[in-house]
Symmetry: C2
């Protein structure tokens, strides 16, 4: 067995204990981790500043350095998050659908953990604790594989968490970090379906597609967001301009930000006149089809075919004119990643038909796509936003980290 196999086998064993641990012990472990992170924050911050030094020496961009950096405030945020997870209801153990069958068998469906959840992610070291906390509360052991840039920070955080688990009476192997951040080890992880029940890649589209293609472990694709705002001919145009501005500019790097606006031909000129002054505040680059370009003149630049499928993650926006709501729906269904889509309209029937026909995790009427988030949806916290239809769709909270098991009480029945 390889080092990784030995490690994952130990996590699988630990998951058996964790899967039947009660809510009280899991909450005690979360509190124990919270306290340990506060008490040992110097260790975590020191490791992080080594990561930062190494990253600077390698010329990492300032925006990425910011994602990598921990501060005492960020540590407090992480600790606060742990306590919020502890306060959430435990999804494990609920039995729905229990019934007595005609032959006397009593059959119930019980919520159980998935088992071992592996997460492959990139720079942010707070993800290490956030993800471990959600897995722990939902009874899942986890294998964390963060990026090489954050390896010292992650190692420190996982050491602190494992010690705290042991203090709380749970096996420390409930939380494991893959020490080797090479691509080979990531590929090996994707094939360990004997030990890992589900793999969640969090990061760029390239990572996610490569995982979906190569993994034999079941995968949940998360966070690919090519989101659209469609401004209907019956839209409140000022509302449309504000929704577009918010969806594009409030945080362009995140997956629920808009990348493309579709504008109905009949109101295109008037709408762009209302929206462009807002977009100007961030000098948003407008990549336009021919018709939009004719309206925008030198404010726009011509779009290429790639623009209609691009996730810019930046102050850039594709702009396209359409002739009907139906055309907008078809375009969205052909080009979106199935994350979040919004229509701005006053028309009741157009709104309902958009809700029915657009195929995405979250479909909005008259609101910004930026609300697609576990907290905003009332799930408390999320481990990612699923853009696939299997298992979970949209923000994934604790319930989405569970499976079920049929339990059957018999009295000697045979068939």
């Amino acid at each position: 067995m390889t080092t990784l196999e030995i490690q994952c086998a130990a996590v699988k064993r630990a998951s058996r204990t964790l899967s039947i641990a009660g809510t009280a012990i899991k909450n005690r472990a979360l509190e124990s981790i919270a306290r340990a992170l506060i008490e040992n924050q110097d260790k975590w911050l020191r490791a992080n500043s080594q990561d930062l030094d190494a990253a600077k020496a390698q010329g990492m961009r300032p925006s990425l350095l910011d994602r990598l950096a921990l501060t005492p405030e960020r540590v407090s945020g992480v600790v606060e998050g742990l306590r919020q997870v502890a306060a959430l209801p435990d999804p494990i153990g609920k039995v729905d659908r229990m019934e007595t069958r005609p032959n006397g068998l009593i059959i119930g469906r019980r919520r159980v953990p998935l088992g071992v959840v592996a997460i492959i992610y990139e720079a942010r070291p707070n993800v290490t604790v956030d993800a471990a906390a959600l897995c722990l509360k939902s009874g899942n052991a986890c294998v964390l594989r963060g990026g090489s840039e954050a390896i010292r920070s992650n190692r420190a955080a996982v050491e602190i968490m494992r010690d705290a688990l042991a203090d709380a009476g749970l096996p420390e192997d409930c939380i494991a970090l893959v020490q080797d951040t090479s691509r080979e080890t990531a590929n090996e992880l994707m094939g360990l379906d004997k030990y890992i029940d589900v793999l969640i890649p969090r990061g760029g589209a390239g990572l996610i597609r490569s995982v979906a293609k190569n993994a034999s472990v079941p995968v949940i694709r998360t966070g690919e967001g090519v989101c659209h705002i469609y401004i209907d001919k019956d839209a409140d145009l000022q509302m449309g301009a504000e929704i577009l501005f918010n969806a594009k500019c409030s945080r362009p790097s995140v997956c629920n930000a808009a990348e493309c606006v579709l504008v109905h031909r009949d109101i295109a000129k008037e709408f762009l006149a209302a929206a462009v002054p807002l977009l100007d505040r961030h000098e948003v680059e407008l990549r336009c089809d021919g018709e939009a370009l004719a309206l925008l003149g030198s404010r726009g630049i011509p779009a290429t075919e790639e623009d209609w499928d691009a996730e810019y993650g930046d102050y850039a926006l594709a702009v396209r004119i359409v002739g009907s709501a139906g055309e907008a729906v078809d375009f969205i269904n052909a080009h979106s990643t199935g994350h979040s889509e919004s229509i701005v309209t006053r028309d009741y029937f157009t709104a309902q038909s958009f809700l029915d026909q657009v195929d995405a995790a979250a479909v909005y009427v008259n609101a910004s796509t930026r609300f697609t988030d576990g907290g905003e949806f009332g799930l408390g916290a999320e481990i990612g936003i699923s853009t696939q239809k299997m298992h979970a769709r949209g923000p994934m909270g604790l319930e989405e980290l569970t499976s079920c098991k049929y339990i059957i009480y018999g009295q000697g029945q045979v068939r």
Copy 2:
């Protein structure tokens, strides 16, 4: 685009229409298919007898020939099944968890179809209609890829069904058959995640593992069944013998049949004395560990390592002596496929702890594993029995063929 891509793209388009079709139109289509299969059964039976002739010429085994064969009675059974599916409640369109958030957004979670379901299966031609019916009722278009032995039967059935769909006002591309039954085309199908939302392989363990390994489309593994019966020291031994006999012998070829019995040392001699006379009725081959062999003498043969993971599908049984219920649980968790597991015991605490600790889709106390089945569980009909934890576990009925979509009604909210 290849022939298969063109076909799957057409199915994807048809799935948009089907996904928003109401219950009435879907039930009308099911009834239309039922009537068409009766009216055209000569065509279907004729095609089937050509398949049978070809299979006989190639020397197919009688048990496989029986699986391939259609008769007027089997056609009636298929038609009856269609009408049962029509009578089941439609899972699509239900909204659970709708609530108004503090910012006024009204957020609901609506049940929607998965979209396009691909099914790769082997000889049985009735699966073609059963699977298409479950997909249709749950609003999913389907791509069927049956085995080459049944290609003429499948082609006839799909032609009849497509005509009936058109009569009922639904696109005929809601049901499609892959005409080329080569392995290359199956491999191509596994990569078409652009058009296919989920892939369900039904068949032997080899097929299922190969699909799970090679597919980039999300896969639901079904029907791998290495099931155990554990006879506890506190078992009613006669009950145990009858449960084991039923689980092994009532239909050894199916996935919920038992493959291995674990017997507590303290009652092993007495239990085997009760069970073996029943197993003798079918001359069940007993593959034993050393201790069991010592008790059974020439009635047993020595087991090899492979026997502890074997799905015989036949009148053969692995027999192993264990020292405790805990040892049985550990053995099961190491060797089962997570399908169905049963304990026979009178002890309350042993029973509860087996239910808690065994990691399988269905865990039984004092009953045969043979009950793991959509009909027996009250789901009405099933498309397979999932042995994975993601998305669905255990018998998959209509609800397991759905996903969800968040619908959000706003009044101009921005974040």
